[in-house]
């Protein structure tokens, strides 16, 4: 119960600040896209949370592919860093501050959430998880 309360207040605080840090128009559109989806599946949806997004980014999961238990395997623990794929290719930073191109293209976001959620979590991410993730990256 305590945890739920904590989460709830956290998401209320961060959702208001997320609007402030959301930079280009494309990013806000993308967040709105996920917010609408989240509301449609959960009427109690009360905004995205950077904390939940950070947890998603940093947690180890066991449901996905064995080589990629967490986002940080490829993206490193600091989202402002350049990451590296398992095949040796550089990955541009995930943090919006280090890479303003991020989170401005819905098609691209959907493609990579699709692949990488299945890789790391072994399932599709929910719209709320995607919004949380982006919200966290906008604070980085």
């Amino acid at each position: 119960m305590k945890i739920t309360m904590c989460c709830l207040s956290a998401c209320l605080i961060t959702s208001s600040s997320a609007v402030a840090v959301a930079g280009p128009g494309g990013t806000q559109k993308l967040l709105d896209f996920y917010a609408n989806q989240a509301k449609a599946t959960d009427p109690a949806f009360a905004g995205f949370s950077a904390q939940r997004g950070e947890l998603l980014f940093r947690s180890d999961f066991s449901g996905g592919k064995p080589d990629t238990p967490s986002c940080t395997v490829c993206h490193t623990k600091d989202p402002r860093n350049v990451g590296q794929t398992r095949a040796g290719k550089d990955i541009d930073p995930m943090a919006a501050s280090a890479n303003p191109q991020r989170y401005t293209d819905q098609e691209k976001a959907e493609k990579w959430f699709g692949r990488n959620c299945r890789n790391v979590l072994g399932r599709e991410c929910t719209a709320r998880e995607k919004g949380d993730f982006i919200t966290f990256m906008l604070t980085q």
């Binding site: 592919k65 064995p66 794929t85 095949a87 040796g88 290719k89 699709g114 890789n119």
Partner: protein, 268 residues
Amino acid sequence: MVFALLAVLALNVTTGVIVLGGVDKQGPLAFAVSYETGRTVRTIHQAFAYVLLAMVGGHLAGVIHESFRSDAKLVLAMFTGEKPDTPVAIAANPARARPAFAGLTVLLLLGGAAYGAVAFSSRRALGVPVGPLDSTYVKECGSCHMAYPPSLAPSSRWIALMAGLADHFGEDASLESNLMSSIRAYLINNSAEKWDTRPSHELAESNPGDPLRLTATPFWTRTHRLIPSAVFRSKAVGAKGACDACHSDGLTGRFDPQKIEIPARALQ
């Protein structure tokens, strides 16, 4: 003996140029010789290389023996053209030296040969992929790993790879179905069978234990066996599959032996 030596030397040069053209797609005959021919001639080239080595050995042994036997300064004679103790009977009819004529002849021969070599070498090599890779392919497949030139795998391997994108070497690399079919068609239309490079022939043989992986093929393993695994793990290279980290022409599928340079940072 000397003429036989020169003949074998000429044969070695000729077969060598054929091998270079056919196998590595370099040099004046790259436009004309197939990989298959290059490989066949390579056997002859190797055999004659040993013959040549034996003849060189015999020649040197002969020179040494003769030097001790007759006290003639044979090596010096190569430069002066004179053997002071040559019997008069053989030394008859001394030819008049015509350095200008000789120089002009040499210049014409060498110049003609050089011009021919350059002109032939600049012709398009037989069966070597040209031009950049398909931009959609590079965008979709080149985000996670180097966009492997389609010439690096036979169509059967591309078909199998494209059928298993949901578990692509341990990762989900699913593509939207229209994109998947167009990329699949591009790969099949440009697969190894369509080209005549060394990688397109040699990489076609799979490793039965890991049939889809380029870096598990017998050819790849054999040609990279001397490179320490730390090089592949280094930040500058990243992984075994990052061909273009060392092969500067890797993205074209050509893989010239001269275009290989392991980044200095990868060796530290």
